[in-house]
């Protein structure tokens, strides 16, 4: 079992932008990821107030990264697929207590 510390990066983006997320993450040193499909919910009144239209169909990208590059990965995702982009991505990380199957 690896002793290296890992973080689990989640990124929720509009459908069609998962590849953008993965490209950004790989540029920062990440390996592969796992893609889930989901549907976002948004407060309709808030959408109207802020003049933001939230596309409901989402892709959720999960990427396990070494803790040492977590910030670089998140920054890369923010720049390429963040809220100010067409992907309107939200990325965050969770601490990983244990990880298996990651190899070297």
């Amino acid at each position: 079992m690896n002793e290296q510390k890992y973080e689990l990066v989640f990124c929720i983006v509009n459908t069609g932008f998962s590849e953008t997320v993965m490209d950004a993450a790989k540029k920062a040193g990440a390996g592969g990821g796992t893609l889930l499909r989901g549907r976002g919910t948004a407060d309709r009144e808030a959408e109207e107030f802020f003049h933001i239209n939230i596309q409901p169909e989402k892709e959720i990208v999960m990427i396990i990264v070494p803790e040492s590059i977590k910030d670089d990965v998140l920054l890369g995702i923010y720049r390429e697929a963040g809220l100010n982009t067409a992907g309107m991505g939200i990325a965050f990380s969770l601490p990983v207590d244990k990880a298996v199957g990651l190899g070297e």
Partner: protein, 131 residues
């Protein structure tokens, strides 16, 4: 029946973790059953898609992108044994390689839910205290 001056305290005996296991879709059933044998009462599986780690590997058909992500609630005292067992299965089962990570759960709504998820009938401990 406790009166309004009595309080009931609920004590959580152990912590829970969220285990996320990503395996080839064809092996999902096996891994769900396997993880359940470690006192896991709650799991959810979601179809997933692996991102190709190498264009060459994908071209050669050496990677199967169809995956299943299994979300399991695991007791902290069972996690080490489960992780060791999963690692052994990932190595030994043909076309059954996967990854698994555990993240901490910090809060939960309801003691009955906690008892169910931790598979511990003693999870709910009633104490009465006078004000």
């Amino acid at each position: 029946m406790p009166n309004e001056n009595e309080k009931i305290r609920h004590v959580a005996p152990m912590k829970l973790k969220l285990l996320i296991t990503v395996v080839p879709r064809g092996k999902a059933g096996f891994y769900i059953d396997f993880i359940q044998s470690f006192d896991v009462n709650m799991q959810a599986s979601v179809p997933a898609h692996g991102t190709a780690s190498s264009e060459v590997m994908q071209y050669l058909g050496l990677t199967d992108p169809d995956k299943t992500a299994i979300f399991s609630i695991v007791r902290e005292d069972r996690l080490d044994a489960l992780a060791d067992a999963l690692e052994q299965k990932f190595r030994s089962i043909r076309d059954g390689d996967g990854v698994a990570v555990a993240v901490p759960l910090t809060s939960m709504a309801g003691t009955a839910l906690f008892g169910f998820l931790s598979n511990d009938r003693r999870a709910l401990k009633e104490e009465t205290a006078n004000e």
